[in-house]
Symmetry: C2
Subunit: 340 residues, 2 copies
């Protein structure tokens, strides 16, 4: 601890579009006295992650926005230098959320101790930390990969994507990455063992996906939304699963891209699922039993909009698409002997 | 059977945008001789449904497109007038898929017999047919409503939507409809018993949804995608479920609306699910055990991009958002005593 001064990086301005260095302020501040049960720790490693862009804005995101003038938030690996907490001793290593500063003060509950003899300390910010855990549960718990399936991941050389592809391989899947440079493609295929990789900056995404995924796409771990999601959707297989873990494509956008904004889906861990009734044919009896009963009991009402004559069908159909019908639209083509 | 002539409506042109009457042709054709095991039936009722617009185009949809010059497809209720099939007798009523024509010839496998003493015959095209079954399973099987939750449905006075809202009420939920006229709003609330209804043509969707759904939205049965989905997404609750049963907003579009096209999601019955790793904290041990083992076994590789000095963080973060880092981006803020 160098005297009792701290170095901090504050959020100075809310960025418009891409953040600029002038949106941040580097300051020196005095370290306050420790209160009861508090721990002072020296930051060794700070993790930088795309989600931080969201917290710099004041529109809704994963978490409450960072206030202007406050220290930028972020996960950290640190060493305890002073402790008023019975469970933490000077010299111990911890992972916490001290943010962009050289020293942090925390309550014990937010810290987890690290064993320096297992893996390098910095791994707790990556493969054995939040990004690795994101890859692990997004792929295994939402994606539910089966051997032989094809898994695509965007930002494939990154902290999450690289682990997604490697676990996909461990589970017997075909792993296909999408990245932004040939160097990253090379790394993903030749170092990490992905089956294929696409450079989204130089290749046509549609045809490159077709070539890389000859059996279609079963799982897409999406970091981007936007154009990449759109291209992937064109080639998904029946009952494909798409865990949405990030929306890099719109973090920097001044105006939201057109089309439904999927950010709330992520923030609220919600799901959109395509539905076709044909999948439920074998459960027809269950449906008929309930609905007949509800109809008899007067719990279900039903309104029909009956148009007479087959030749009236085209015009009635045109109106249907404009919402002009009122009730279920039926064309009476011939006589109904039960209604006479 | 009036002589041996049939009246049929054919697809004449693939519509550009909204279908016109001139995209259809009404023709008289001879009814061919019945072959073995075939059934000739007289159409009483023909169902008209929005999905038919998709089959008029040659872009991928629920089913193969209708060929130009062929009879328009559609579900029908009919009476058997001639049968070469042992299981069907003249005079029996059946539901099938004979399409836009006065007489249809089918194999027995595609027909289901109807009991004319249960409910009106035409109900088999609505509340006790595909639309009712869509409402039933989309809400109950994908939506999984719990008493007290809020269910929103678009096209709420229609064949599917009206049943969704009424079943939501039966299950103890708050039911909110979205429709296109005050008359439909009135019907949905006062006849069907929905708790609230929004006229999307005269009301501001965002504020009307806020008023109608004071506790947020837990389930949205989506018939439209596009702008209505976008507005609903802004007000979904944690772990909301959105069964996507139609995309009326884009059936007529000459050019696809901007943003990801969700049609493949429906066609392939796929899912997009928002993911936040914070939900998995209690399963941390499971993750660490697998990943540590895979790291030790050399099955997982990990690359870091370490930048030295806290003051370098803003610039490194700007680069991260542009994909310039290579491996997990870490700022080394202070000395790591384990790496010396």
């Amino acid at each position: 601890m160098s005297g009792s001064m701290n170095q901090q990086i504050l959020l100075k301005n809310r960025p418009i579009g891409e953040p600029k260095e002038s949106d941040f302020a580097v300051v020196e501040t005095a370290i306050p006295e420790l209160r009861e049960a508090e721990i002072l720790s020296r930051t060794i490693y700070l993790s930088l992650d795309p989600y931080m862009r969201g917290r710099m804005s004041d529109r809704e995101s994963y978490a409450t926005p960072i206030e202007l003038g406050n220290v930028m938030g972020g996960s950290t690996v640190s060493q305890v230098v002073k402790s008023n907490h019975p469970q933490f001793s000077v010299g111990e290593f911890v992972v916490g959320y001290d943010g962009w500063q050289a020293y942090g003060i925390s309550k014990g509950e937010t810290l987890r101790k690290l064993d320096p003899n297992q893996v390098p300390l910095s791994y707790a910010l990556g493969i054995t930390g939040m990004p690795g855990m994101t890859a692990y549960f997004a792929l295994l718990d939402v994606g539910k990969p089966k051997a032989g399936e094809t898994v695509v991941v965007s930002a494939a050389s990154g902290a999450v994507g690289s682990v997604v592809g490697q676990i996909a391989k461990i589970k017997g899947c075909r792993a296909v990455g999408i990245v932004g440079s040939d160097e990253k493609c090379d790394y993903v295929v030749n170092e990490l063992g992905f089956d294929a990789c696409i450079n989204r900056k130089t290749q046509n995404l549609d045809s490159a996906l077709k070539t890389a995924c000859p059996n279609g796409i079963d799982i897409y771990v999406d970091h981007t939304a936007g154009a990449i999601l759109d291209a992937v959707l064109q080639q998904i297989n029946l009952k494909a699963r798409i865990p949405l873990v990030g929306l890099i494509s719109q973090y920097n956008a001044e105006k939201l891209p057109p089309g439904p904004n999927l950010l709330p889906l992520l923030v609220k861990r919600a799901l959109i699922k395509g539905f076709l009734v044909g999948d439920y044919q074998e459960r027809h009896a269950e449906f008929i039993q309930d609905v007949s009963q509800w109809l008899k009991a007067g719990k279900l009402k039903y309104k029909e909009d009956v148009v007479k004559g087959l030749e009236a069908a085209p015009n009635a159909f045109i109106g249907l698409l404009q919402g002009e019908n009122f009730g279920k639209l039926i064309i009476q083509v011939g006589d109904d002997p039960t209604q006479q």
